[in-house]
């Protein structure tokens, strides 16, 4: 091993991203966020804080939302990742994406990919009966405004588009429940 690689050990990592399998050699320090943005050219997930504090980097890992800035890619070997680029079905936008457009749920759009992936996670978690801090004990969650605000609190929006984000998520949840 030469000095350079001794200081920066790397590993082979297999990831499935938006349905496409990849085999990558990555410096062990590489986060999932940097893997997506720097190695796979998927720049949808954004780097806001890089410390788990803003939610702009939210993606789904094996179906569950997570902050990709705090995940080491090497630890995810074999995982399936969905980013905002993978939410739409071909040309057909995801219902959450439609609702965000409909309700004008963004201004600059920087937080939006994270909001969308987080909201997709929220819908799945609520459907699985996962409680939040505002869910009454013994009841299954109903995605009203209070539940959505609590569940989406890990996604900050510097433009303050919160009211419309809540409406967009709520509309999607109701449409899903009606189907």
């Amino acid at each position: 091993m030469d000095d350079e690689s001794r200081r920066c050990p790397s590993s082979e990592v297999r990831l499935q991203v938006n349905g496409t399998p990849y085999r990558l050699r990555l410096d062990n320090r590489t986060t999932l966020l940097d893997t997506l943005r720097e190695h796979l050219d998927l720049t949808g997930a954004k780097k806001g804080c890089d410390h788990g504090q803003c939610g702009a980097c939210t993606v789904l890992v094996d179906g569950r939302r997570s902050n990709s800035c705090l995940l080491l890619a090497v630890a995810l070997d074999g995982a399936a990742v969905t980013t905002v680029e993978g939410l739409a079905d071909g040309e057909r936008l995801h219902p959450l994406q439609e609702a965000f457009l409909e309700h004008d749920a963004f201004q600059c759009g920087y937080c939006t990919p994270g909001q969308l992936c987080s909201a997709a996670g929220v819908l799945a978690e609520a459907a699985d009966g996962m409680p939040s801090a505002v869910t009454p004990v013994g009841e299954s969650p109903r995605l009203d405004g209070g539940e959505i605000r609590e569940r989406m609190s890990g996604n900050l929006c510097r433009c303050g588009a919160y009211p419309n984000i809540v409406r967009a998520v709520q509309d999607t949840a109701q449409a899903g429940a009606a189907r």
């Binding site: 001794r6 200081r7 920066c8 050990p9 590993s11 410096d27 062990n28 320090r29 986060t31 890089d50 410390h51 788990g52 939610g55 939210t58 569950r64 939302r65 997570s66 902050n67 705090l70 995940l71 080491l72 090497v74 630890a75 070997d77 987080s118 996670g121 929220v122 978690e125 009966g129 996962m130 409680p131 939040s132 801090a133 009454p136 004990v137 013994g138 605000r149 609590e150 569940r151 989406m152 609190s153 890990g154 996604n155």
Partner: protein
Amino acid sequence: MKGFDYRRAGDPAGAVAAVAAAPGARYLAGGTNLVDLMKLGVEAPDLLVDVGRALDDRIEEGPDGSVRIGAAVRNSDLAAHPAVRRRRPALSQALLAGASGQLRNTATVGGNLLQRTRCPYFQDITKPCNRRDPGSGCPAVEGAHRDLAILGASDQCVATHPSDMAVALAALDAEAVVLGTAGQRTVPVAELHRLPGDHPERETVLEHGDLITDVLLPALPPGARSGYRKARDRASYAFALASVAAVLEVREGSVHRVALAFGAVAARPWRARTAEEALRGAPATAESFARAADAELAAARPLRDNGYKVPLTRNLTVRLLTDLAEGASR
């Protein structure tokens, strides 16, 4: 960030052997605290031993009502489990009051217990800090300590332990199962973290290489209710300024059994034994709850900017115990 080797442990014993043999090695679980601290330069391991798949991620309820929680269980899964959600709402509420949905999906029980203080100087390697760099000093005593300890601190360190979950576990008499090179032992969660004294760098009673494999919850008597209450700067997604977890059983208007723990006021979840003593057999009224909280908080030594934590902790205690006594489930 410094480069590091990465190894995925196949089982707990292999993980312990790998970390114990290498002074610069750290366990990696969810990584939500460790990776953050590596980015900040506070941690610079040369080997990460990933225990995410080596540790158990199941929750088992015993026939006697006790519960065994694998250390790799994610915070969100623990909060949703019926043995926790219905039987021990204090723990479910504490977990759900912490961090965000994304972080709770990633964070594990073991990592949550061993997360490090959020003291701003600890996290900033350009500043002195006795906990991070022994003997360098503690700027928090004179500086930004509004969020820091009022109980059990020393002039060497006034850090708090930031976990919500650990506060509920302390009130529930939980024990951590620890695997080390010398074998297995159990440590009560309320005694896992050390008070700073003259050695704030010794954060827990664990030795290098000790691995938390499980957390055990004893059975709760059928009449006992539990709850958690947290005060913070915003409605959600913020660390506690003060919090309280309690288990209460009232019989004929009197306190039959009580366990009380305070969060964000000390370097460990603060089991309020003095208050518990004062409450046993006392009438279950707001007056006794207030007297008991005052008795516990008589030991508080607030700093210039965190005196507010004394009445805040007291009022949270009275509110929570009153709600539990009245039978409110949350």
